[in-house]
């Protein structure tokens, strides 16, 4: 008998989850083990501060444990360093606490993961319904006693398909064979066959086929389901596997109608918040790839169950599925180690589209259901971007269109029917609230809109879940208290700080503004702005925007702009006709503020549009129209990918784009909206000179 590792009892509020974990486990990990997701963006490096928790002290009979502060490891150096910069009171960082004894923990709302609002709904687009999977009704000749050799019921079905539908060389999923004769009997020799009519677009797909299915010609048909008599109803799922959110649209493949849309958090988040940390997890954990693969397949099965249940169906009714995702998601979906995507030259395992059986991925749909995975373009530009291109179709326009899909890694597409270029740009997680002092993801209580009075410098804001503008004297209910600032709020507040003259075009807080309002204050040598008073926040602490926050937004927006600008340079154009903001984030950004910030190039404001989850729409298009799958395969080869990071002009464009809205490029459409360049007010440099002038030294120049 080996000595058991000492274990500690943990109870987590408000979820009420409890259980035991080995002593020495960090609280962050312990919560995960017990099925409670605590927000963490830095991955346990004591830098993001998103995993703050409270320790309840005392004896808790209900949980049969005695909780004490001393049951956690003491504050270490790094947590102390964080605390020095941020007043978090009695709270601890879950990632820095090792569990040494029994504890009862409260996870405050802002520290709970899985609370995001998922605002991805299928938009109304006109799609020509021509699905890869459809139903055909056949009347099958009965067997006769003098039947020639080599003829079975399946062969007579093939004969019927050829005669009645002009379909030749139709194959059958061998797993369906046991259902054939009972169906013939029940349907009195009439059947409804569900057929897949596709194209094996990858050389390797045969290996991925079900057992017993041999090589087939490029264009092929396969029977996926046999129903007796006449039957109606064939359904498919279009899924956008985002690194944070997974969205599934259940569609009627006959009418093209979206019957249900379901979304869930990508469960891989617990292995790493961003893409690269998931690649790291795959690199460092022996079972990492398998775990992440299982997690996402599990999530897809859940989505299929929920979406079908919404309309009284079951996953068994789903015969076709289209999957899109960025290259890392794409690889993990297929169980491919994404390690090569973690470093230059960012080699894809496969770019071509994939057709395979859902069951071979562990998907619990109809036994014979098919999966189509859209192709990738490059190591950072994947099937999800191709889906966006299918939805927005820049390759069918005369107008010069710029499509920006904002995420931790922004994908940028520029072009028209003559040529389409694409690139990715590392914007980092600032737009998602990370690296921002009071940043958070979009969730109830997050500040999403901000206005600052240019004269009084008094702010107003809107929080998610409440329609009214809130200022410092608005009486509010507890649920309207702000918990933090989400991406759209951060963009608006920085733009408003700029237009109100609180920060300059270089992003620096103006010392002169401290005289205009007590909301602008300097701590040491740098400024900050009090956006929400402690009376109006959920934490009873002020929500401020610091100099460092502004800097992080400058870096993120400069990376995005520089990527777009490089593509424009590549095409030799100065302006674009239309800007499309894709992704859930794009839906919430006000184009006006995006332009004031210089996140996007100058363009007529009415020509800047947000389209929401275009990747999901593109997946739906590929689900409903098999020609569009061919179009995607063609686009993947035709679109030109530009590696922006190694472009010699990237640094120049990036540095210019750090300015607000840009140190070099003009924004004629913002005329009258931008603050006049501050003249006469002493900048830090001339200030020093000024001091010298007073000392009466001659100044050259």
């Amino acid at each position: 008998m080996s000595e058991p590792t000492p274990t500690c009892q943990i109870a987590l509020m408000p979820s009420g989850r409890r259980g035991s974990v080995p002593a020495g486990t960090t609280l962050l990990e312990a919560a995960r083990l017990l099925g409670v997701e605590i927000e963490s963006i830095c991955g346990g490096r004591q830098t993001c501060g998103k995993c703050q928790i409270l320790i309840e002290e005392g004896h808790f009979p209900k949980h049969n444990l005695t909780s004490a502060l001393a049951h956690l490891s003491p504050i270490d150096e790094r947590e102390a360093a964080y605390r020095q910069l941020h007043d978090i009171g009695a709270r601890r960082l879950a990632c820095a606490c090792e569990v040494l004894g029994d504890v009862l923990i409260t996870v405050p709302e802002e520290s709970q993961a899985r609370k995001q609002i998922i605002s991805k709904a299928a938009t109304d687009r006109v799609i020509d319904v021509q699905p890869a999977v459809r139903q055909v009704y056949v009347e099958v000749r009965a067997a006769e006693l003098d039947e020639v050799g080599g003829q079975g019921d399946w062969e007579r079905v093939q004969e019927a398909l050829a005669q009645q539908w002009h379909l030749n060389n139709v194959a059958i999923d061998p797993l369906l064979l046991p259902t054939l004769q009972p169906a013939l009997k029940q349907g009195k020799h009439t059947l409804t066959l569900t057929l897949w009519q596709g194209r094996d677009s990858t050389g390797g797909s045969q290996a991925a086929e079900g057992p017993g299915v041999g090589a087939r010609p490029a264009n092929s048909s396969e029977v996926l389901r046999i129903q007796p008599g006449y039957a109606e109803g064939v359904y498919g799922l279009a899924v956008d596997v985002g690194s944070t959110t997974v969205v599934a649209h259940l569609c009627d493949l006959r009418t093209g109608a979206v019957l249900a849309t379901e979304a869930t958090m990508n469960p891989q988040v617990r292995f790493g918040e961003d893409l690269m940390s998931r690649v790291s997890y795959a690199m460092l954990q022996p079972q990492g790839v398998a775990r992440m693969h299982r997690a996402i397949i599990g999530a897809l099965n859940d989505l299929a169950r929920k979406a079908t249940a919404d309309v009284g169906l079951t996953p068994e009714d789903v015969l076709d599925m289209v999957l899109v995702g960025n290259p890392v998601m794409h690889h993990l979906l297929l169980g491919i180690d994404p390690v090569e995507l973690g470093g230059a030259p960012f080699a894809l395992a496969i770019a071509a589209p994939i057709d395979m059986k859902a069951r071979d991925l562990g998907l619990k749909l109809n036994t014979a259901a098919r999966v189509h995975v859209l192709p990738n373009i490059a190591g950072h530009v994947g099937a999800d971007n191709l889906a966006v291109q299918l939805a927005e179709a820049p390759h069918q326009q005369d107008e010069m269109m710029l499509v920006i899909d904002v995420g931790t890694n922004a994908e940028i597409v520029l072009g028209n029917r003559e040529q389409v270029l694409c690139a990715s740009s590392p914007t980092g997680p600032a737009f998602e609230g990370a690296q921002i002092t009071h940043g958070q993801r979009a969730a109830p209580g997050a500040i999403e809109r901000v206005r600052i009075d240019p004269t009084t410098l008094e702010p107003r804001h809107k929080v998610i879940g409440h329609d009214e503008w809130i200022d410092s004297v608005t009486a509010i209910t507890a649920s309207a208290r702000a918990t933090g600032i989400c991406g759209s709020g951060i963009i608006e507040v920085v733009a408003e700080l700029f237009t109100a003259g609180i920060i300059g075009a270089d992003g620096r807080f103006s010392e002169a503004a401290t005289e205009r309002s007590p909301r602008v204050r300097f701590k040491g040598r740098t400024g900050e702005y009090v956006l929400v008073d402690s009376t109006h926040t959920a934490t009873s602490q002020e929500i401020v925007v610091t100099q460092n926050d502004v800097r992080n937004i400058q870096l993120a927006k400069a990376a995005l702009y520089a990527g777009a600008k490089l593509l424009m340079r590549h095409k030799g154009i100065e302006k674009v006709d239309r800007i499309v903001l894709a992704g859930a984030f794009g839906l919430h950004i006000d184009p006006h503020y995006a332009m004031i910030l210089g996140l996007i190039p100058d363009c007529e404001l009415s020509k800047v549009i947000a389209v929401g989850n275009a990747a999901g729409d593109g997946a739906r298009i590929a689900l409903l129209n098999r020609e569009q799958r061919q179009e995607a395969a063609r686009l993947a080869l035709w679109v030109e990918h530009i590696q922006t990071a190694v472009d010699p002009n990237f640094q120049t464009e990036f540095v210019a784009a750090l300015g607000l809205p840009n140190a070099v490029d003009a924004f004629p459409h913002l005329e009258g909206l931008l603050p006049a360049p501050v003249t006469g007010s002493p900048t830090r440099r001339s200030q020093r000179r000024h001091v010298r002038t007073q000392a009466e030294s001659p100044i050259p120049g």
Binding site: G343, R525, R551, Q651, R684, R685, P698
Partner: protein, 228 residues
Amino acid sequence: MSDELDFSDLPDDELIQQTHDDLYDGLDVEVVAEVNEFLRRGWTPYETLTKGLVGGMDIVGIDFRDGILFVPEVLMAAKAMKAGMHILRPLLAETSAPQVGTMVIGTVKGDIHDIGKNLVAMMMEGAGFKVVNLGINNDAEKFINAIKEHQPDIIGMSALLTTTMPYMQVVIKALVEYSLREKVIVLVGGAPLNAAFAEEIEADAYCRDAAVAVDTAKKHVAIRRSKQ
């Protein structure tokens, strides 16, 4: 122009001040004129470098560290510094002026980001270091060869991805293998790094930003020289 850039009537201390201001403002033409003025007055190239240029870049470094200056301003200042150095470097080579130090810097294998690393390189040059910039995507062999060729006091490694930062450890192990580890100070930096990571891979220090890199480099070089 020549009238405007006549600094001959400024006393020495004010000329130093003016040089610092013009570096801060990134005014390269002015800085060149000021360097020439120092030399005309008989200052040694080394004195001109340390009191005029390095002194000025120190202020830039402090303001960058404190968040008052940002990347564009620092790059402008570094450009002005470079213009001044263009005059001083050949003169420094002729004289037996003390060397501040040499650094070999590069982004590690698999990583193609270099703006942050370039900023460190420029700030190090601003502090008087000779900097050999290896660019992006450097494997251990490139670092080893550069060390053999340039005999640096410091090697600096940068990575922007969590997936590429582990390669730093590969380079450090290679240094040990080639018996070069004791000969160089290893500084590491980049967005996903932290001090704990630097410690884990047995680098000498993690540098949060370019200003910290300069301070850390100076400190480590001073310690090393005091031991010699």
